[in-house]
Symmetry: C2
Subunit: 398 residues, 2 copies
């Protein structure tokens, strides 16, 4: 009696272990799903150091939703422990130390953004945990035990470490603990499956080993591709500007998505929609517009999707946003609060400051928190979208 | 006004950092000693996994006494934390897990044995700490901080790790924590100087780095040579049988020491006595006997030293102990309790068992704790010295 597992395999890069792996204990993920007499626990780790997420991040979340729809429990792990301590060497900007408030605000923003994707309502389908809950209670004896499950050679084989070690770039010892901490999360929540990008294979495998070490049934790893950005070349990333943010305006989303290069369209449809791939329009231009429409529809509904499409058609590439010209700013350096006032988004510089303090101001989708943020010339602003609250946008033009 | 520091330099292999090191913060140890307006804290770490210690172990303890006599504080660190958790991989016999009781008994036995060397009586001259006091309170954040002070490359440069990594012998990750734990002991007790064998240079240097990291004045390392055993070839070690135990009978000590090869005599005098080296007898045989006498005198006083010497002279190599012939044991396997009774050291097998239980029985200086210890033939016993309490000995002969 074959069951349909197309929801499981759609867009997946790798599931491990495979049933044909030589490990004698190995079952297949299909078998575990078929034999489950209670909901399986599907883990996805969330890094709460940044607030805004993009379509690339949405891919494992969408797979999580597929598991929810099959009756299983999504377990989101907010990695607050690491975010709270930051990078102990103080050398990494990426791991700057966040306050408890930062972390909880970022986590809240994350949950708001994935709300259109996940099932938040059916009882038993979603759990959210902060990993400080178990990590902050670990003592030296337990940490020695965690470390003792792996050798230096195994750790240095990990992608990233291997190259750095070869190039004699310093690897600090505490970095070896991070994969074990992520692995211990799997022990703590007793996950059956962990989702992640293909770059997470090592960490997810560590989770398997630790679960086995602690006498638990090891999880499966389900790896998803890393999404290529709208430039068609590099992986989607905010800093590269080739991203589509989940909190962006429907028209912005539509604009960006109708420019996705043809060679990526099938993958975008596969990873970002549930549409059958054999029903897509033949014409590439039609496919682009259909993709853009469908994704806007997912996050904002049909009406907004139609509006965004209409607007894009009538206005061409520049989109439907009101524009604010930097010619109106007579003097640089200029504070953002002043620009908010000059553009009419706020009634005064004072209101601009208040809105920033309240967390209601975004520049190209990124929340601005520095009240004194200052720009030294038009080059830093031109082409960006400035936003106050959920509905007020201007596109900044020269 | 030069002060006499000959007590400091006698027998020392290395003191680091030297005053001519390029580190701008570097003072010399002499300067720190001269400028001290309160007693300096001199650290020596003790491994409580074995109960009995030998003359090799006594060398840093003797140096500690020299610091005490110069007015400073000896700080003994009992490494109970590591001993209590054992080796988390369970693969090492050396790091078998000890109970709290084992550890405290071993520590007690250690202190008894070094009592003739150290100043236990002058107030403020001796502190004894168990490192579980601070190590068991470390949490994950603190441990990440400790680990972040070093790189993988630095750790793999450590003697021992380097060879194992090159040979692809597994190094387990928790092993990287041990030098940091020993280093953190220096932070916890704020040591000014740490004593150790030349094999401890890396660990003591880690202590310096951690003290600096935590804003403390870094300690000096004072390294002492590893003693060559009475065979004149390998380092003194119980398992090699080339050792002189501090708890051995005066006559045993004398016997062993009068056999120390000529090429080691100067070093033995330098490391194990306070005698001016230019007053030693010219004749090698006289030097051997003088060494044996002087060391027995240190631990047991002049009368015992004279007796041991007399006995050795009159009886030659066999010594002065009453002998018990294994011909009296008619049947093997034989329990030690039975041999204690047969030899007359105990009145009955029952008393033999009681004495073992009380910890009063030693075989070649090693305390026996297994009431049911059984020998399967005379070969395991012949030539050894059996002892009950402090004064009753027999030498077992075939």
């Amino acid at each position: 009696m074959a069951k349909d597992f197309s929801w499981l395999y759609r867009g997946v890069a790798e599931i491990f272990p495979q049933s044909h792996d030589t490990d004698s204990e190995t079952e297949s993920l299909e078998k575990r799903l078929l034999n489950a007499d209670h909901p399986l626990r599907i883990k996805l780790g969330i890094d709460p150091t940044g607030a805004d997420i993009h379509l690339g991040h949405s891919i494992p979340v969408r797979k999580l939703r597929a598991f929810q729809d099959a009756g299983h429990t999504a377990v989101l792990i907010i990695g607050d422990f690491t975010a709270r301590i930051g990078d102990p060497t103080g050398k990494s900007d990426v791991r700057r130390q966040l306050t408890e408030e930062d972390v909880s605000q970022n986590a809240q923003t994350y949950l708001e953004q994935v709300r259109p994707i996940l099932d938040f309502d059916t009882p038993g389908r979603l759990e959210v945990h902060y990993n400080s809950q178990w990590l902050s209670g670990l003592d030296l004896a337990k940490i020695l035990e965690l470390l003792s499950t792996m050798t230096v050679g195994q750790m240095l084989a990990k992608e990233g470490f291997a190259e750095r070690y070869k190039k004699e770039n310093p690897i600090f010892l505490h970095e070896f603990l991070y994969p074990l901490m992520q692995g211990f999360d799997s022990v703590a929540i007793r996950s059956d499956v962990e989702l992640g990008g293909t770059d997470q294979k090592f960490n997810i495998a560590v989770g398997r080993d630790l679960q086995r070490h602690f006498g638990l049934r090891p999880q499966f790893g389900l790896l998803l591709p890393i999404l290529i950005g709208t430039d068609g070349i590099q992986k989607m990333s905010k800093s590269l500007g080739n991203y589509v943010g989940l909190s962006e305006h429907p028209s912005q989303k539509y604009q960006k998505l109708q420019g996705v290069p043809d060679h990526l369209l099938t993958q975008y449809f596969e990873l970002l929609t549930d549409l059958p791939l054999d029903t897509l329009p033949d014409n590439p231009r039609d496919r682009q517009q259909f993709l853009a429409w469908e994704i806007v529809r997912q996050y904002h509904g049909e009406i907004q999707a139609n509006q965004a499409q209409e607007a894009a058609k009538s206005k061409g590439k520049e989109g439907v946003l009101p524009e604010f010209s930097l010619a109106n700013i007579t003097q640089f350096p200029a504070k953002l609060a002043h620009i908010l006032s000059a553009s009419g988004l706020c009634k005064s510089t004072g209101e601009g400051k208040r809105k920033i303090q309240e967390g209601g101001v975004r520049l190209d989708g990124e929340k601005i928190t520095d009240v004194d943020l200052t720009f030294f010339g038009p080059g830093d602003l031109s082409g960006k979208v400035l936003q106050v609250g959920k509905k007020n946008f201007v596109r900044i033009v020269p």
